[in-house]
């Protein structure tokens, strides 16, 4: 069999395809079919040639790697797996992408499966190794590219194919329709307006100061996150809105290597920017969403400036700003007293340089802030980035990788970890489940809602008692 019913080179563009794929429990049939999936070697080589041109950076990177091994200790998966030589970043990329190029795309099914397993279970695209390579070779970037090649050939983990299909069908990582989204915004405004008089979630307002975008998990399963964001905008007196369409910032398409869907998704956000003409855009506490829409997205969409259509902030930038300018004030009595540490999300710390913003926030809200070591740009991946958290096939490898983060957290002595990123939040929750070390974890929003001073006129009216 050349192409399977589920495992094939087709893209998932319809709801029916998506449903059928989901119904293949855990990808049972999908992975069986993968055993017989043929490799379109011509397509593979043609694609490689398009990217690895003379003077291209990936070609140069592959060629100048001196196999010095300086990148070894930078990789949390290398450290977590007993310094297994096969986990050295340069080895991982040379033995996959390097070989694909050397063999001019003439590889077989087994090789492609090995590439897939390496690209999704031995690298989270955290890009830490790139900081330690004396030549500045960024293996994370190359792994993202390798994922794209694998996706094109149909060698992609089942969950990733579903994820990219979701973006294609719903322009969101989950099945949240425009109606569901609007409904959830209205519901949250209704449910919380008693406690927060005047609270609104303005939808599709043109010309607001801030357009707020989210992660589809929030409207789908955790709508209180949306309510908390609304409460904080409300208390800060911001003029804000959410778009009716183009509200989803995340991109499982990016994790999947589905370049076409990456563009589709991010274009929907940029369209919302053009439509609503906000002064700025703020995205929720999600790491890869920011990377996809603010850092990578402009290139996917061919924007010459390399910037999104309007100035775009991560949530931590907005929080630091309003705490700095006093639009939100922390009640000194409610500051976090216990030792607390902070998870740096690779996607907006190392890959976008926002480390000082989160430190500034900690200086306002915590009395005993403890840095992990290493930290900031040098921090380790939570252990669940790049889609690692959600792929059943690699659960064991994911759990093994969590050790590094566990030890980093334990060393701080803090029992509370602030994780302003959905995937980090999950990985830290999971590491508690796996190792039971007795820690708690939180996004910023729920903590801030508890800590901010509420101006007199925004308090609920006193009841007669």
């Amino acid at each position: 069999m050349a192409q399977g019913k589920f495992c094939n080179r087709e893209k998932v563009d319809t709801l029916e395809q998506l449903q059928a794929l989901l119904n293949d429990k855990g990808g049972g049939q999908y992975y069986k079919e993968m055993q017989d999936l043929d490799v379109d070697t011509d397509l593979l080589w043609a694609t490689l040639q398009k990217t690895l041109k003379e003077k291209s950076r990936i070609k140069a990177w592959l060629e100048i790697c001196a196999h010095c091994g300086m990148c070894s200790d930078s990789c949390f998966l290398y450290l977590a797996n007993n310094k297994d030589p096969e986990q050295v970043p340069s080895y991982k990329i040379q033995s996959t992408l390097g070989q694909l190029y050397k063999r001019k795309g003439k590889v077989d099914n087994a090789f492609m499966q090995m590439c897939m397993d390496t690209a999704w279970s031995k690298c989270t695209c955290c890009n830490r190794c790139g900081m330690y390579c004396p030549f500045g070779i960024d293996m994370g970037i190359m792994f993202s590219y390798l994922r794209g090649l694998c996706f094109q050939q149909g060698f992609v983990p089942w969950e990733m194919k579903i994820g990219s299909g979701m973006h294609r069908v719903f322009r969101a990582q989950m099945d949240v329709t425009t109606e569901d989204w609007v409904e959830t915004c209205e519901w949250m405004a209704e449910e919380y307006e008693e406690d927060w008089p005047g609270l609104k979630i303005p939808i599709e307002k043109v010309g607001a100061d801030i357009m707020y975008t989210v992660n589809a998990r929030e409207p789908k399963h955790y709508p209180e996150d949306l309510a908390e964001a609304a409460i904080l905008f409300h208390l800060a007196g911001e003029d804000w809105t959410v778009p009716e369409e183009g509200w989803e910032e995340t991109s499982l398409a990016m994790f999947a290597g589905d370049w076409e869907a990456c563009k589709m998704q991010v274009q929907s956000v940029y369209d919302a920017m053009e439509r609503l003409k906000p002064k700025r855009m703020v995205v929720t506490e999600c790491g890869h969403a920011y990377r996809a829409t603010v850092i990578e997205g402009p290139y996917w969409c061919g924007l010459k400036t390399g910037q999104p259509p309007v100035e775009s902030l991560h949530y931590v930038e907005w929080v630091a700003e309003v705490l700095r300018n006093g639009k939100l004030k922390i009640d000194p009595a409610k500051k976090i007293k216990e030792p607390v540490t902070l998870q740096d999300s690779c996607n907006y710390i190392r890959n976008a340089g926002l480390a000082e913003y989160t430190r500034e926030i900690m200086s306002y809200i915590a009395e005993d802030f403890r840095e992990m070591s290493p930290n900031k740009d040098h921090n380790f991946c939570c252990g669940g980035g790049g889609g690692f958290n959600g792929i059943g096939r690699y659960r064991k490898q994911r759990n093994a990788g969590l050790k590094v983060k566990r030890d980093q957290i334990l060393q701080t002595g803090a029992k509370l970890v602030i994780a302003p990123c959905h995937n980090c939040w999950d990985a830290i929750r999971d590491l508690e489940e796996v190792f039971e070390v007795g820690i708690r974890w939180s996004f910023l929003k729920p903590l801030l809602v508890e800590m901010v001073e509420v101006p007199e006129h925004l308090k609920p009216q006193e009841e007669e008692v």
Binding site: L22, N23, W187, E191, R217, N389, D426, E463
Partner: protein
């Protein structure tokens, strides 16, 4: 009074007592009954799996699984469903309180009915641990309609409720609870007991009151009961008024016991949503845990005010 009822259930023995009341109520009022089981909790980050509510194990949500859970529910309630033509079964994955509230809002239901079990499925676990299921807590806080919590066998049926206890702290939310209790009494001809407990718990006051002060305050509360509620009851005269002093939940329970209360109606409006912090602080939670009869939590006027 009830056209649409949402019964949130795990389809396990922990919800049997609640199920009994749910089906009875639907039959009596010819109400549409929605049985909702939220069977799996999803993650915050990307994942296609959910944690199954019963087994605690990870599972994939696909149509087969949903169908299977639905079949299981239909089997569990086969007898009741055969008797009740207005009932339908819904199952989905999500965070229980979120999906219950979402469904209640979407379907515009008049009453949510649930057990007070926690995630620990063994019956009695909640009482033993003194923790009310956080789902129940969040649902009663967020719901716009009355929430009826049934945690123990309800020997009478709702339309036979003869003694309804309305406990008030005179809050705005209590006004809605009063309207619900009052309308229910009028409709089914039961006696209404209006009750207030003067809070003497040391946490609350920090000082010891003189007996005369206590008596003054009791008299004052009685006046308030008169002004706030009794004056609104027109010619309805099947009621009693009482004010006691002590720790509110203890007094409500003692009073209910003395009057053979078979339904307690209160407002559950604590602003504390963290169940870990609210669990011992809230009067309603303690009442739910310890009462031998169902407890209705009513906080908002939407489904109880005069239409």
């Amino acid at each position: 009074m009830f056209k649409k009822i949402l019964f949130a259930t795990t389809a396990t023995p922990a919800c049997d007592n609640a199920a009994h009341v749910a089906f009875d109520l639907a039959k009596k009022y010819q109400a549409e009954l929605i049985l909702l089981h939220v069977f799996g909790t999803p993650s915050r980050g990307f994942s296609t799996t959910v944690t199954d509510a019963k087994s605690g194990e990870e599972s994939h949500v696909d149509s087969d699984y949903v169908e299977w859970v639905e079949e299981e529910m239909k089997t569990y309630y086969a007898k009741q469903l055969a008797d009740c033509t207005t009932a339908k079964v819904e199952t989905l994955a999500g965070v229980p309180h979120t999906e219950i509230l979402r469904m209640a809002r979407k379907q515009d239901v008049d009453l949510i009915l649930m057990g007070a079990h926690s995630r620990q499925e063994e019956p009695g676990a909640t009482r033993y641990r003194s923790i009310v299921g956080s789902t129940m807590q969040k649902v009663s806080k967020g719901a716009r309609c009355p929430v009826l919590i049934v945690s123990r066998p309800c020997t009478t049926c709702l339309w036979y409720f003869s003694n309804i206890i309305f406990g008030t702290d005179f809050s705005k939310a209590s006004d809605s609870a009063f309207l619900f209790a009052y309308k229910l009494c009028k409709e089914i001809g039961s006696k209404l007991y209006l009750f207030h407990a003067l809070d003497l718990s040391s946490v609350q006051s920090g000082t010891v009151l003189e007996q005369s002060e206590v008596e003054d305050r009791i008299a004052e509360a009685k006046k308030k009961l008169e002004a706030k509620y009794i004056s609104k009851m027109e010619d309805f005269d099947n009621y009693e008024v009482e004010v006691w002093e002590g720790i509110p939940y203890v007094e409500v329970l003692k009073y209910s016991r003395e009057k053979n209360g078979d339904l307690i109606v209160m407002a559950h409006h604590t602003r504390e949503v963290d169940p870990e912090k609210a669990m011992l602080g809230s009067t309603v939670e303690q009442v739910v845990l310890r009462a031998s009869c169902p407890v209705a939590s009513v906080n908002r006027p939407h489904k109880v005010s005069e239409s």
